[in-house]
Subunit: 199 residues, 2 copies
């Protein structure tokens, strides 16, 4: 496979995926064009269409890889978080993923694309389930559905606000500190603190 000079590439599908990821890292999602992918794979401009019906399909395939890698990063931060602090570590990893691979993160979440792509739903379901399991363990008394949604949203929002320059992301430390502080603050803020200030 992948014989130099042969008419057939051998594994163009995978080569496209690899090229797409490289281009994404180098030039952002704007640089991710099918033509650029084809050039990098050393193939004619329209060859990728044999494997991906359109640009969106290729982008979705890249995004699906991103979801899987995000899951790996989160698991690496802590295999089975059981306390709020350990949950914070996972939150930091999530935000870091977004900041370390901004273009990838945008492709995963900020692209108006078909959300019914099979690859995508499977991969995001995995993340969603992962968050739910953590939340169930850390807050056994809470409504797992509502709270895991909230936790994912909180972390996801932190990632985007940093990514968009709405929050200072100049160093990993300042980001990690802010994420931890935010998680701690919102978990500590009970409505009762407002209703009965003395409580």
């Amino acid at each position: 496979m992948s014989q130099t000079g042969s008419y057939h590439h051998g594994d163009l599908r995978a080569a496209c995926l690899r090229a797409a990821r490289e281009l994404l890292e180098e030039d952002g999602s704007a640089g991710l064009s099918l033509r650029a992918v084809a050039r990098r794979a050393g193939v004619s401009a329209t060859a990728p269409y044999r494997h991906y019906p359109d640009r969106d399909a290729l982008v979705s395939a890249v995004a699906a890889e991103g979801y899987r890698e995000l899951a790996v990063c989160l698991a690496a931060a802590h295999p089975s978080p059981a306390t709020p602090d350990e949950l914070s570590a996972v939150a930091v990893a999530y935000v870091r993923f977004a900041l370390d691979r901004p273009a990838m993160f945008r492709v995963m979440f900020a692209e108006p694309c078909d959300p019914t792509s099979e690859d995508r739903v499977a991969a995001t379901a995995a993340i969603s389930g992962y968050v739910r399991d953590i939340v169930r363990g850390v807050f056994p008394d809470a409504d797992p559905e509502a709270l895991s949604t909230a936790v994912w949203a909180l972390v996801h929002g932190l990632a985007f606000l940093h990514l968009d320059g709405k929050l200072d992301a100049s160093t990993p430390e300042v980001v990690a500190d802010r994420v931890r502080a935010a998680v701690r603050a919102i978990l500590a803020a009970s409505p009762s603190a407002a209703a009965r200030p003395g409580g």
Copy 2:
């Protein structure tokens, strides 16, 4: 101004902005091209460049309008929220804004653009300050910096997850219910519930 048939348009700058917003609503951000804007404004393809140095500048101008309108929507949901429930109402309004104007919301937050654009920073600072004031009022005992960051992130994340199809957004009611439940759940979830299950 704006005489039909006259060489000079009269107020092309504003016309471009209006056209851009229309195109955004009709075709999403993909349909927002300077050429399309020019066509809609009834002007040559490159005329908009007299008023906007490049595409990003026009998009940023549109986004700045979006920020202002978001602020109006939030204020309309509740002028001065003072309880968690009233805060929830604002959260619902934020998510609804995103779902009602998905392309606009994406332009505001999901576009890899220069975050130092003066219009944008001013407008987002307004939102940030608005959230901080609310949080200060609702949770006087909390760290306002950390908690307002967390609240904005939570709501922002909810908006994106719905927008991306990660959460069911089929009807306004189901969305509103989920947003309220998530806000309530995360505010109720105190770390102590995990540390001392009996408390």
